[in-house]
């Protein structure tokens, strides 16, 4: 049987997919280069396409200011999880597709000269799902923000907790929320930016907890999967349910910001979201943002950086060294929000399981701390 080679010559009636993208909102065919130039926002209808972690960092931070940290973190497979594919195979495939090790990239950078600790998520990596690595990177970003006393920014793009890591993924909610509580107690501000989608355990932990919450227009933001909600609750869903504007209307988002305005808005907010500076009496004085990269990396909590105005004028964004992953294309495999059950009554026969003789004494985890 002869092997049919694929033809790379575009037919007259088809757009080659690598050059053109069809806008899912207005069906316009968009030239990819133009789309990239417009920060991947449809010039016709304003539809916001998803951004890779690299493109997001590039669009928010000062040129060449990003220094990636903890790039080598990689998930293990604590449950030995196999569904239709083993979990390690899914990770390897996502790594090859995106050039990332997991669904978040973290580091330090500056925005109009102001240093920030930043963590951005990438939906292209297993639906941006949160396992141990994402939880760890968000937590380390928060801890670094606390110690170096610089604002924390997290840009979310996630379907929720990663099912393949079981309750250890759920525990990342506790880990990240606890770190953010410490940040709050230390009076270091946190800016949360929600992009499409921000759902499930990611929304119900660090994403919702910003001192200021921003969201991109029409981004899907919610706790329970909308399909589950619609399917299990015999009720019509309100218009625009779980969209950024819906959340804004109900008081959980401060501002819905067009992507082309995002960097500017963040820079404006950072003038107010400056960490309180501890003076020698342990009380707080008015904060002044530091821009000295050596200073903020030196990680001294007590260190007061004196009165330095942001120096560099804002530089136009240009490509930086951050890895540029391929286009995301696997929402079906992504771990969606951890969702509750149908609201139907569960009548239970209560059939007995293996009745076995049991000691009445409780079993204790050997690893459990005794202090």
């Amino acid at each position: 049987m002869p092997i049919k080679l694929p033809s790379f010559r575009p037919r007259k009636d088809a757009y080659p997919p690598d050059l053109w993208t069809k806008c899912p909102s207005c069906s316009e065919m968009l030239f990819n280069k133009q789309l990239d130039k417009a920060d991947r926002v449809c010039p016709t209808c304003g539809h916001h396409f998803r951004l890779s972690a690299g493109a997001r960092l590039e669009s928010l931070l000062d040129r060449d200011s990003f220094r990636e940290l903890d790039a080598g973190l990689q998930s293990l497979d604590p449950l030995g999880f196999v569904d239709q594919k083993p979990y390690p195979d899914r990770i390897a495939a996502a790594q090859l597709a995106t050039g990332l090790r997991d669904a978040a990239v973290r580091g330090v950078g500056t925005i109009e000269g102001r240093p920030v600790s930043i963590c951005v998520m990438d939906f292209g990596f297993m639906g941006g799902s949160m396992g141990a690595v994402v939880g760890e990177k968000v937590t380390r970003a928060a801890e670094q923000a606390l110690v170096a006393r610089m604002p924390l920014i997290v840009v979310s793009a996630s379907g929720g907790a990663r099912m393949q890591e079981g309750t250890l993924a759920l525990m990342q909610l506790a880990k990240t929320c606890a770190a953010l509580e410490r940040l709050r107690a230390a009076r270091v501000p946190y800016l949360s930016i929600m992009s499409d989608p921000t759902t499930g355990g990611v929304f119900a932990s660090y994403a919702v907890l910003g001192d200021v919450n921003l969201a991109e227009p029409n981004a899907l933001i919610g706790f329970a999967g909308a399909r589950v909600t619609a399917g299990t609750i015999a009720q019509e869903l309100p218009a625009g349910f779980q969209r950024a504007e819906f959340l804004y209307e109900h008081g959980f988002i401060d501002r819905v910001v067009h992507r082309r305005e995002l960097r500017h808005e963040v820079a404006l907010l950072l003038r107010y979201l400056a960490p309180a500076v501890l003076d020698t009496n342990g009380t707080t004085a008015e904060a002044r943002p530091a821009f000295d990269p050596i200073g903020f990396l030196s990680s001294l909590a007590e260190r007061v950086v004196p009165d330095l105005a942001p120096a560099e004028p804002p530089a136009p964004a240009e490509p930086m060294a951050a890895p540029e992953p391929a286009a995301p294309a696997e929402p079906a495999e992504s771990a969606t929000a951890a969702m509750p059950e149908p609201a139907t009554a569960r009548t239970d026969a209560g059939d007995p399981a293996e009745p076995e003789p049991e000691p009445v004494s409780a079993r204790r985890a050997p690893e459990a701390s005794d202090g």
């Binding site: 080598g72 760890e136 880990k175 929320c177 329970a224 399981a353 690893e367 701390s369």
Partner: protein, 333 residues
């Protein structure tokens, strides 16, 4: 033979994995048993007195969560727990134990009060999941869960959490962040319901039992993962068979933990609790970032390199644990 391999022949003795699946699924059914004792029944069997408090002071009183004061072996405590109904009528009133945001806000209100009064907190977790409807989203279910989790991470008073039935995802964790987490033997704890997991990863809810097994959601598995610290054996066929005996077994475990935690200073408690959750999660650190793999190499080389455990610098915080069948150990604190 082919039939058996394909799992078609129901008459043939089931394969080992099917056995394990059935066993896990039985646990899930026991955890969901409608006669299983809930927060108020367990407390009723343990406490000398119970005073329930109501309302979140902002929206209303959510009957899916109960909260208040109680006295346990002379210890005055604050309690919070989900409360499913014992019959259809009560289940409708209590929304099948699925809290709305105001339920978690009531819980936060009582827990903050407990901190102020110097009372230890005991929570009872039994929830399919937080209520997923539009009202829940409109009133901020994600916000309520995240704030409750954050609050519990910093409260300067002992917290004992008991998973009594279904530990359903964020709706469970919202009141399950503790210095110690106890689970009843047939309780389950998971990041998503097995039905939800199956319908996403297996594309059919019929594989719920397979998903339940894969997620390792039983109390013993959670103990091995370090998510749970203590498992309390249930009487007979399960807690529903003898709720009073269940309470009798649970009480000394809770009281013992309250006494142990009561000897710690608030600073020690909060630090140990932070570390308890800080080390949960299994990851490793590889030397080079993924992007550094030369693009000239073949796909197979790159795959092998990515998966080669010898390149890993060793587990942090799971030392040397790249074996698939090995649960991550909790780091010593």
């Amino acid at each position: 033979m082919v039939d058996r391999l394909l799992g078609r022949n129901r008459e043939a003795p089931p394969d080992a994995p099917v056995d394990a699946r059935t066993a896990v699924w039985n646990r899930v059914q026991l955890a969901r048993n409608i006669r299983r004792p809930r927060t108020l029944e367990l407390l009723g069997g343990m406490a000398d007195e119970i005073i329930e408090l109501h309302g979140d002071r902002g929206f209303g009183d959510d009957a899916a969560i109960v909260a208040g004061f109680a006295r346990l072996d002379g210890h005055r405590i604050a309690f919070v727990g989900q409360q499913k109904g014992a019959d259809t009528e009560e289940n409708i009133r209590r929304n099948f134990g699925m809290p709305h945001p105001e339920g978690y806000r009531k819980a936060m209100r009582v827990m903050e009060l407990a901190e102020r009064l110097g009372l230890p907190i005991v929570t009872f977790v039994d929830v399919p999941g937080a209520h997923p409807g539009p009202e829940s989203e409109e009133r901020g279910i994600a916000d309520a869960i995240a704030r409750s989790v954050g609050l519990m991470s910093r409260l300067r008073t002992p917290i004992v959490a008991v998973i009594t039935g279904e530990g359903g995802s964020g709706g469970a964790l919202a009141i399950a962040v503790g210095d110690v987490v106890i689970a009843l033997e047939n309780a389950v704890y998971s990041v998503i319901s097995p039905e939800g997991c199956a319908s996403i990863l297996w594309r059919t809810a019929d594989e719920a039992a397979t998903a339940a097994l894969a997620m390792r959601m039983t109390a013993d598995d959670q103990l091995a993962l370090g998510v749970v610290d203590i498992v309390v054996p249930e009487p007979g066929e399960g807690a529903h068979a003898d709720p009073e005996e269940m309470a009798r077994r649970l009480r000394p475990v809770i009281v013992g933990e309250l006494e142990r935690l009561g000897r710690m200073t608030p600073d020690e408690l909060v630090d140990a609790r932070y570390r308890r959750y800080r080390v949960l999660g299994a990851y490793t650190e590889v030397a080079a970032p993924a992007a550094a793999v030369p693009p000239t190499r073949g796909l197979g080389d790159r795959l092998r390199e990515l998966l080669d455990p010898t390149r890993w610098s060793g587990g942090n915080p799971i030392p040397g644990s790249s074996r698939r069948d090995e649960p991550p150990a909790r780091e010593e604190v």
